[in-house]
């Protein structure tokens, strides 16, 4: 593979936005059958580069060459015609249509030549078989898991028989099992001569799959290296620069031994959207100042458990106590007033009011507080001042407090949610997948805020499928398998590998 023919070359591409040089003379190449990872923090210039490859953005200087031919810049059709295929980070499928219907829809949109239904079905069967993608064509997309939806996206792209496949953060939302499957598929594709560009920020993912890695930082290429020649630590240092390279492996502090119990969950049972009694008979308690990690493979009922504690999802049985008081019968609103805070797993759906401003989103968290309103009348000035200070305190970068929340990057959206939830100094923080899809710096910032909340006396519950994250945050862990509590362990007495075995052996770190 190493000596494959050069498929694509990015030659000295530069792109400036007002106030920032997003891409500064970026050069790298992709060979036939190669998996080439572009690695970098948010802001390193990856998104801009993808935009230029796609033809959405017009570079200020430089060229994209495919087979030595220069692509016309800023023209998306050029990329498609020359065999570039993209798999987006956010899936563009219609949830209420079936798999086959989605594929027909996109083929009419994309390629210009409308294929017959039979032709598409034939090609799909062929592609599915060739890549080991087993999908029921007649099932509606909304019933598919995130990983399966990605497979549909992948097929969608492969129908056009691309020679270069570009995937933007493909592993961001997948479980470990699904990631493994994806890597197999990509390996298989590369084996057939397809060149693959993988955009990512997770070191482990990139090292596991890539042949070569190009590290970007602040719009420049730091280096292009062979994956065999580097380790995660070296790559991390390249990504963030030598200064911040030493990631603080600080052990989470255990709560004071005499700390009182803040949250107590007794024999809680909860139904999922499609699974009755998904969570059964779970009991645990969390002390003031303690961070409890909830480990489990995705879909074990952890998210539903937190939703039930928050009152978002009705419990089938059991009680939730806050400082000894039964709050099981209270509404979400009442529970919030008692000091519960919630960071949802799906921030677009449950976390933010996308069309509203940053200031308004923050004001919503302060409902009923004299700081922002009295007798139902809003104090616009205090809302503005408070929003500014929270943006500063939580490091939310946006052009102003009036910017719509939907336009922020994922990391900033998550910080916005944390700011809204933690600004009230809650008694209990329930946190679901707190850093899913976030880059290194944002992840560190989110972790720091959660630690600070615990230090201020909050009882924090963190659900995550990232065992490293749980070990970095929590002082105690509970393990949930198929909706049942199957283990409890102190964080300093277990390694990620041992924890993986506890979860069912699937994930060895």
């Amino acid at each position: 593979m190493e000596s494959g023919r050069e498929l694509l070359k990015v030659d000295g591409v530069s792109k400036a936005f007002p106030g920032i040089l997003a891409n500064d003379a970026i050069t790298f190449d992709l060979k036939e059958g190669e998996i080439h990872a572009l690695l970098g923090e948010n802001g390193a210039g990856k998104t801009t580069l993808v935009g230029i490859l796609y033809g959405l953005l017009h570079p200020d200087a430089g060229h994209i060459l495919v087979d030595g031919k220069v692509l016309e810049p800023g023209n998306p059709r050029e990329a498609i015609v020359h065999g570039l295929g993209f798999v987006q980070q956010h899936y563009s499928l219609v949830p209420t249509l079936t798999v086959i219907e989605n594929l027909i829809l996109s083929s009419r949109y994309g390629s210009g030549s409308a294929l017959s239904r039979e032709e598409i079905e034939r090609r799909i069967v062929k592609i599915s078989q060739r890549h080991g993608l087993t999908l029921d064509r007649t099932v509606k997309v909304e019933r598919l898991s995130v990983g399966e939806q990605q497979h549909v996206e992948l097929i969608k792209t492969l129908i056009g028989s691309p020679r270069v496949l570009i995937l933007d953060e493909p592993a961001a939302l997948l479980s470990a099992e699904e990631v493994k499957k994806l890597w197999q598929i990509l390996r298989n594709l590369a084996g057939q001569g397809v060149g693959i560009i993988l955009i990512g920020h997770k070191l482990e993912d990139v090292l596991a799959i890539a042949d070569r890695i190009t590290v970007l930082r602040l719009g420049r290429v730091v280096a292009t290296v062979s994956a065999d020649d580097v380790n995660a630590a070296q790559l991390g240092a390249m990504m963030v620069g030598s200064l911040a390279a030493q990631t603080s492996e600080s052990r989470p502090a255990a709560p004071a031994p005499d700390a009182s119990t803040a949250l107590q969950v007794r024999r809680l049972s909860v139904s999922g959207d499609r699974a009755p009694n998904l969570v059964k008979d779970i009991s645990f308690s969390v002390k003031r100042g303690e961070v409890l990690g909830v480990a489990g493979i995705i879909g074990s009922g952890q998210a539903e458990l937190l939703e039930a504690i928050m009152g978002i999802r009705p419990a089938n049985g059991g009680t939730v106590l806050l400082h000894g008081d039964d709050i099981s019968g209270l509404s979400i609103r009442r529970r919030r007033a008692r000091g519960l805070a919630f960071v949802p797993g799906d921030r677009h759906r449950d976390g933010l009011i996308g069309p509203m401003s940053v200031a308004d989103n923050l004001a919503l968290g302060a409902n009923g507080q004299p700081a922002t309103s009295r007798s139902g009348i809003l104090y616009l000035k205090s809302i503005e001042t408070r929003a500014r200070s929270l943006m500063k305190r939580f490091g939310i970068s946006a052009a102003g407090t009036g910017v719509r929340a939907a336009t922020l990057s994922g990391g900033n959206q998550q910080k916005l949610i944390l700011a809204r939830e933690l600004a009230r100094d809650p008694e209990v923080v329930l946190c679901c997948y707190p850093t899913r899809g976030l880059d290194f710096a944002s992840t560190a910032a989110v972790h720091e805020e959660l630690r600070l909340a615990a230090a201020r006396g909050a009882a924090v519950v963190v659900v995550s499928i990232d065992l490293g994250e749980l070990l970095a945050l929590a002082s105690r862990l509970i393990v949930i398998q198929a909706g049942r509590l199957t283990g409890e362990v102190a964080a300093d007495q277990v390694t990620a590998a041992e924890l993986g075995v506890m979860l069912g052996g699937g994930i060895a770190a």
């Binding site: 801009t48 009011i353 336009t407």
Partner: protein, 359 residues
């Protein structure tokens, strides 16, 4: 913050303005095709819409029963709820005001009038709260329930007018005239403009204040932006849905009360030619902004007032050209909005890309 709001407001105004201009151009083509001199026809419309103090007064009087329900429709729409039933709330508000004036204690302006109008608002609110509660607690689509309740409301009003409240020996179904003491006074000598116009302007200010400056408005916008997240964040979703539709109905009910106490002087069958339905078009044309709705309802009022002048100026042309222009304006608006949506999505995609790069 202000720059974004004003920028989008400027664009909103532009879109609606272009839609109205296109509607007039199309109407001119239609008139020409029908063998009329379009300019002469429009001049005839202008004469009875804005040609004199009296004409302006007529326009204002005809704008009021459209403006208030439109404010209500907009309020509900800010939370993503469609109040299609303003027409029914207008009729029942009118009935409530008439009942207070006809059968209540012998009071006079301002106390009696205020009581009658408050009754109109309460009944309008209560009528709209029913679909609100059905939506909030039973999941019934409010588009259907609010609309269906229009027919119930209109028939209920008809029953009252033709039955127990019918004026004796009448050839036209109507109640007796309400006591003069209850009437909204005329406020502009030489015209028919009554105190209801002032209430309508107050309504514009109230909507602006409620939506932008109160917790209720913040919740309203939050629900409109993301219903599910609002509930997770702690907005009392179900009570808010009921309250939003009730508040919407109160605006419509007030319009009905003003028609009885300020314009007609009695409750009569079919007094609204569909103000409540026009209100939906006006709310959209006004882009849900209080001042935009004020402008759109003045336009619709002027078209209504101008229809009389059109018939004088252009023999053989039906006054129905006025609603044709209204319909065209809304049609063009929806088309323009579709177009603007496409443009802004492109722009947003680009700016999202830029902000992703910056962060």
């Amino acid at each position: 913050m202000t720059s974004i709001v004003t920028a989008s407001t400027a664009r909103n105004v532009m879109i609606s303005f272009v839609a109205v201009i296109l509607a007039f151009v199309t109407a001119a083509l239609l008139l020409t095709a029908a063998g009329q001199n379009a300019l002469q026809s429009f001049a005839g419309m202008a004469s009875t819409a804005v040609g004199s103090n009296f004409a302006v007064g007529t326009t204002l009087t005809k704008a009021v029963p459209r403006l208030l329900p439109a404010l209500g429709v907009a309020l509900a729409l800010r939370s993503g709820l469609w109040n299609i039933g303003a027409e029914g709330q207008i009729y029942l508000g009118a009935a409530a005001a008439a009942a207070v004036a006809l059968f209540g204690p012998p009071l006079s302006f301002p106390l009696g009038t205020a009581l009658a109008l408050i009754a109109a608002m309460i009944v309008g609110a209560a009528w709209a709260a029913v679909p609100g509660a059905l939506r909030a607690y039973r999941g019934l689509n409010e588009v259907i329930t609010t609309l269906m309740m229009v027919y119930v409301a209109v028939q209920l009003t008809n029953y009252l007018i033709e039955g127990p409240w019918l004026v004796p020996n009448s050839t036209w179904p109507a109640t007796p005239l309400i006591p003069f003491a209850f009437k909204l006074p005329l406020i502009w000598p030489g015209t028919l403009v009554n105190g209801g116009a002032i209430l309508a302007i107050v309504g514009v200010a109230v909507l602006a204040f409620v939506v932008n400056r109160t917790t209720f408005g913040l919740w309203l916008r939050a629900i409109g932006g993301n219903e599910r997240a609002s509930e997770v964040i702690g907005v009392p979703l179900r009570p808010m849905i009921v309250a939003a539709l009730a508040a919407s109905g109160a605006f419509a009910g007030l319009a009905g009360g003003i028609e009885v106490l300020g314009v007609r002087g009695r409750l009569l069958e079919g007094f609204s030619p569909g103000y409540g339905f026009e209100a939906i078009a006006i709310a959209l044309l006004g882009r849900l902004r209080p001042l935009g709705i004020l402008g759109a309802s003045l336009l619709f009022g002027a078209l209504d007032a101008g229809a009389a002048g059109l018939q004088v100026a252009s023999v053989g042309i039906s006054s129905a050209i006025a609603p044709v222009i209204e319909g065209l304006a809304v049609g063009y608006l929806l088309a323009a909005l579709g177009l603007a949506e496409i443009i802004s999505r492109r722009r947003e995609a680009r700016s999202a890309l830029q902000s992703a790069v910056r962060s």
